[in-house]
């Protein structure tokens, strides 16, 4: 289905002529909060997103991700804090100006199903008061490879194709900041991969992307930095930084037959700070300060103890591990 793939080159070249906005950061958020009555949607959230950065916003359901996006998109008024979006201070008066410079792709495409793809995009081009409407729509549709479906009613498109139309719509005004709210929610693996390619291409083009997602591998693959939100901002940084913050460095060791006294063989080593058994049988996780120094010492000790070594490797913690660790902490804290 090569012909049906996204036109990544087109995305790299760009669509419109919106000048690069001024200011050091695309989004600056300072102690922002939103309450609905007594319910706290999110509180005391601060972060910055640089121009050209892909910023991942992770969190469980109800963590306040969508509310944060809606607040930054001036759809909802914050109850505390301040923010600057695309170089413009967040306020009700600045709402139209901010919304003209950004795009938000909500989780649900929200297309007019009786209207054709072209008619949907023409409506939004009008709402953004764009010039060269036909040209912009054609470029956006070509980029998501839907030009040949321009005359089709949106109701006749699959979910994945509707998502592509929504992406084309979000690109129409060549936004300074593109907010993508769960862009791959409910998509099959092929459609998901295509959306990932689109985001990667936009990233190469220098578009600032604020990506909320449940898919941790998506965030790990696409985002320069991620923030984990659970009403308050729990952690923020590059995925490898987050791993380093939350997890001690360690070695995963597997031997054919379990040691009779692992503490005597491994725990006694100067390079090893802690030893515990890990599944499967014959597996051990060793806390170490420097895996490159510890690994040879561990190998020598195991060989000396007559063990058959199957593998020794530095433990790899995924962003999912980081995320689950934090969310579990929150659950424990609530129980406590």
């Amino acid at each position: 289905m090569i012909g049906d793939r996204l036109d990544v080159e087109k995305l790299r070249k760009g669509f419109g002529d919106q000048p690069a906005p001024g200011g050091a950061s695309a989004v600056v958020v300072e102690r922002l909060g939103k309450r609905f009555g007594h319910r706290v949607a999110f509180d005391d959230v601060s972060f910055e997103v640089g121009y050209g950065e892909v910023f991942g916003f992770l969190g469980p359901n109800g963590a306040g991700k969508t509310t944060t996006v809606r607040t930054l998109g001036t759809l909802i008024a914050p109850t505390s804090g301040s923010a600057t979006v695309a170089g413009i201070p967040l306020s009700a008066e600045n709402g139209p100006a901010i919304r003209a410079r950004i795009s938000i792709m909500p989780e649900s495409p929200g297309l007019y199903l009786r209207l054709t793809v072209m008619e949907n995009l023409e409506c939004f081009a009008g709402l953004y008061e764009l010039d060269d409407v036909r040209g912009r729509i054609e470029r956006a549709l070509r980029a998501v490879n839907l030009l040949d479906r321009a005359g089709d009613p949106c109701g006749s498109l699959s979910k994945g194709l509707r998502q592509r139309v929504a992406l084309a719509r979000a690109l129409l005004n060549d936004p300074a900041v593109l907010f993508l709210d769960e862009p791959t929610s409910g998509l099959d693996p092929v459609a998901t991969r295509e959306v990932h390619e689109l985001i990667a291409a936009l990233k190469e083009r220098g578009v600032t992307i604020f990506l909320t997602t449940h898919r941790l591998e998506e965030a790990e693959r696409l985002c320069d930095r991620v923030a984990i939100l659970n009403t308050t901002l729990r952690l923020m940084g590059r995925p490898d930084e987050l791993r380093a913050q939350l997890f001690r460095r360690s070695l995963d060791v597997r031997i054919r037959v379990p040691l009779a006294d692992p503490e005597a063989v491994l725990g006694a080593l100067r390079e090893v700070e802690g030893c515990e058994q890990a599944p499967p049988v014959g597996g051990y996780t060793l806390a170490v300060s420097d895996p490159e120094i510890a690994a040879p010492a561990v190998a020598r000790a195991l060989v000396g103890a007559g063990a058959d070594i199957l593998s020794i490797a530095e433990s790899r913690h995924s962003l999912e591990d980081v995320y689950l660790e934090l969310i579990d902490e929150d659950v424990e804290a609530k129980r406590g």
Partner: protein, 244 residues
Amino acid sequence: MSFSWTRVRAIVVKELRDYRHNRFVIGTMAFLPLLFIAAPIVQLLTVSVSATSSKLDARVGISLLYLLLVPAIVPSGLAAYSVVGEREQGTLEPILITPIRREEFLVGKALAVAAPTLAIAYAIFGIFLAATALFAHAGIASAVFSGSHVLVQLLFTPLLAGWSIWVGIAISARSSDIRVAQQLSVFASLPPLAIVALMQFKVITPSTGLALALAAALLIVDVLGWRAVAAMFDRERLLTGFGK
């Protein structure tokens, strides 16, 4: 950013295209008025040739008042759908994400409802005039075609439609369910219906002064209605269920 007619036009065009793709919407709007036209025509065709001029005037007046119910009743369903319908089909958020102001959105919605309403109301009036010219006796036809009656119809049709549209949109902006909004919007036609009833039962006597006073009142209500509905239109409440 000031009020933009380009954005208003985008909403109107989108709505008209939606009607074109779903002709049933306009078809059902036009169906009820076609039933409505029967009573006024029968009223006029059954007047005796020897009827006194006062009786003639009364028949003509009541018939034309019936026709003014058309612009009051026809737009209520469509107006009631305008905001809550977008919300329920998930298209409101993408619209509100754009730079559009609530005033622009509402004017666009109102014009999109007004266009078919006025087309239907004037078409019905045209049919009524044609039937009168063809089948009513000369005295009746002359009374109906008098300049003041035609002028009243032309003037009151958009004013009454405006009233009904803003009431419908106001209900739509505050409702969370399409069915509730459409049922409540029927009440928009009650005040015009009450005036017709009061005139029919001779509680109110139609006069030029009364007509001008009603027209002025409706004009003020229509302009204030836009402002009032804009104030009631709260993005936050529409998207989250919380808010003003």
